[in-house]
Symmetry: C2
Subunit: 111 residues, 2 copies
DNA sequence: ATACATAGTATCTAAATAAATACTATAGTG
DNA sequence: CACTATAGTATTTATTTAGATACTATGTAT
């Protein structure tokens, strides 16, 4: 974990964890259930394998998700929300409500 | 507003609005009260004037905040949350709770 | 006449983030 | 022996985002 990345402000802390293009949607999918790498990738066809790997590593470093490796061939790796990742589901729920309202207001403006 | 930026998924939509380094904290400050440019900048000493301008323009383009210009010299411009920006305060509230919990879990790990 | 205050713009550079593409390891299967 | 499946890594390139710095306009006050 990088030093000094997180201070005492919950907002700037949250921003650091959430910035980027994929964190929220990945957390959403893992919030539904534990998934293997390939399964998650099929849910998210718009990012490449290497990008997904990086995003997952970042979320893992930040403590939001857990990575369980099964010593098998072919490899099996499962991703799931950590304790604090599970807590994030309450934010996701509000975000979903807000996001839908937001989309509605855009429609009203014919955007 | 850029075309095709927002689809039908509330999570990817929210991610687009929130990504970047400053959106959440700016929305938080404007959620407390309407502020002038300079006042907001004093709350956020870690970003330059030109960066703050860009962030505010982006939030305005995305419909989260409103910009009111008073025809005076020296100029006076007030920023405030829009209708949908006010709705975002519920997300901010959950984010604050979560962010504080997150900070606590980091402390437990001596990070 | 000069300086001040406010809210910018303009330009350039740097840093961060994401994407594209090719490559790898290995047990099991036909 | 060749082929498959899975979850990657490595490297390079492109794109996006943020930062640094200098500059602007103008009414009022000194």
């Amino acid at each position: 974990m990088e030093k000094d990345l997180f201070g005492i402000c919950p907002y700037t802390t949250a921003q650091k964890v959430l910035s980027g293009k994929w964190s929220i949607i990945i957390l959403y999918h893992l919030g539904k259930k534990t998934m293997r790498f390939g399964e998650l990738q099929r849910q998210l066809p718009d990012l490449t394998q290497s990008t997904l790997t990086k995003q997952l590593r970042a979320l893992e470093e930040n403590g939001l998700i857990e990575r369980k490796i099964y010593p098998q061939v072919p490899p099996k790796v499962e991703y799931s929300l950590s304790y604090i990742g599970i807590k994030f589901k309450k934010v996701l729920a509000e975000l979903a409500i807000w996001g839908n309202e937001y989309i509605e207001t855009l429609k009203d403006k014919n955007c």
